[in-house]
C-alpha cells in the first residue's frame, strides 16, 4: 500500500507495469520519461541484462502535485516479463498500489498474455491482494504492428481473453510511437489515487 508520511504530508504511490516479456513495459516508461522530462527530476533507473532485457526492474519517480494537502509522489516500476524471473516479479510487486497490464497484441503472443495475467493474479494473492479489486488498467500494446502486415489480435478477442471478468479500463496503444501511453498512465494514476483518497481524509 501507499506510504503516507504525515510529517512531510507526502504520499508515495507504487504503480507496476506488468505483462509478458518483450511486451513493451520498459518502452512505456521510456516514453513517459521523454515526454514528461520537465516534471521528472531524477534519472530513470533501469537494471538490464545482456541483450537489453529487463533483469530486475525499471524505476521512474515523479511528482503530480497535491491532493488533499498531501504531495503525491508517483513511482512507476516495471517487472521483468520473462517467465524465469518470477521471484523478481514478486519482489517488485511488494507494496503495489496500482497495476498496468501491458499485453502484446501480436497474434503469436496470445498464450503468453493469458499466462502472464494468471501469474499476476497468483503473485498478488501471495500478498493477500485481489486482482479484481486492485486498481488495474489494461493496455493492448503494439497496435502499430498491423501497419507492417504482422498479424495481430483484435481488441475484442483480447478483451475476451483477458478482461471479460475483470472489466478493467483498457487502451489500444503503441508504446513505441507513444499512442495512448500517457492516457494509460493518467488512468492508472487517477484510479490509484482515488482509491487512496479515503485514507487521506
Amino acid at each position: 500500500m501507499a506510504l503516507i508520511n504525515p510529517k512531510k504530508r507526502e504520499v508515495q504511490v507504487k504503480i507496476v507495469y506488468y505483462g509478458p516479456g518483450r511486451g513493451g513495459k520498459t518502452t512505456n516508461l521510456e516514453y513517459i520519461n521523454r515526454k514528461f522530462k520537465k516534471r521528472i527530476l531524477n534519472e530513470m533507473v533501469t537494471v538490464k541484462t545482456y541483450g537489453d532485457r529487463t533483469l530486475f526492474f525499471d524505476f521512474l519517480p515523479f511528482d503530480i502535485g497535491e491532493i488533499k494537502g498531501h504531495s503525491i509522489k508517483i513511482q512507476l516500476y516495471t517487472v521483468p516479463g520473462q517467465v524465469k524471473y518470477n521471484a523478481t516479479r514478486r519482489l517488485v510487486l511488494r507494496g503495489v498500489d496500482g497495476i498496468v497490464f501491458v499485453a502484446d497484441s501480436m497474434d503469436l503472443r496470445r498464450e503468453m498474455n493469458i499466462r502472464s495475467l494468471q501469474n499476476l493474479k497468483e503473485n498478488l494473492e501471495s500478498f493477500n491482494k485481489n486482482i479484481s479489486t486492485i486498481p488495474l488498467v489494461m493496455q493492448y500494446n503494439k497496435r502499430d504492428l498491423a501497419d507492417e502486415g504482422i498479424p495481430i489480435l483484435s481488441v475484442e478477442s483480447m478483451e475476451k481473453d483477458l478482461n471479460s471478468r475483470l472489466k478493467a479500463p483498457y487502451f489500444s496503444a503503441s508504446a513505441i510511437r507513444g499512442d495512448n501511453v500517457a492516457a494509460t498512465m493518467k488512468k492508472i494514476i487517477a484510479l490509484t489515487v482515488s482509491s487512496l483518497r479515503k485514507k487521506l481524509e
Binding site: 500500500m1 506510504l3 508520511n5 510529517k7 531524477n42 533507473v45 537494471v47 526492474f57 519517480p61 511488494r94
Partner: protein, 130 residues
C-alpha cells in the same frame, strides 16, 4: 502478506532524532529508513550530499530481496552484514524490523566498525519507538 508501515508524525520525529544523534552527528553523509516496497520513510543527510534517495531506496529494496533469496538458497536465514564499499563512499544496509531497512551512506572518514556499532545502537532505540 499485506504490507503496511504507517507511522505517526511523533514516531517519525522520534526516529529522526535517533538517526541524527547516532549517525549524522557521527559524520555519516546520509541515512534512509525505508520499507521493503522501496518507500522512503525517513531521510536525513549532513547537507553535503545530494543523492537521489527514491531511486536508491527502490534499488536497495530489490537488492535486499535478491540477497535474502541468495541466503535462503545456501541455507541461511539472512546475511547479517550487507555492505558495499566504494572508493570514496560506501553503503551499509541493516534490517530494523521485518519490513524496515536502514541504509547508511558514509565516506572514508567513518570507520565501518564504529558505524556498525552506532547503527546497532540506533536500531535498538528505533525499535522502542515503532
Amino acid at each position: 502478506m499485506e504490507f503496511t508501515v504507517d507511522f505517526t508524525k511523533e514516531q517519525i520525529e522520534a526516529i529522526e532524532e535517533v538517526l541524527q544523534q547516532e549517525l549524522i552527528d557521527l559524520g555519516v553523509q546520509s541515512v534512509i529508513l525505508m520499507d521493503l516496497a522501496g518507500n522512503v520513510i525517513v531521510n536525513l543527510d549532513s547537507g553535503e550530499s545530494d543523492h537521489d534517495v527514491f531511486s536508491l531506496a527502490a534499488l536497495a529494496a530489490g537488492n535486499y530481496g535478491a540477497v535474502s533469496a541468495m541466503a535462503n538458497i545456501i541455507g541461511e536465514q539472512e546475511f547479517s552484514l550487507l555492505f558495499h564499499k566504494g572508493e570514496e563512499e560506501s553503503i551499509h544496509f541493516s534490517k530494523v524490523a521485518d519490513d524496515l531497512l536502514l541504509l547508511t551512506i558514509f565516506n572514508k572518514n567513518v570507520s565501518l566498525g564504529f558505524l556498525r556499532l552506532k547503527v546497532a545502537e540506533g536500531i535498538k532505540r528505533i525499535q522502542k519507538v515503532i
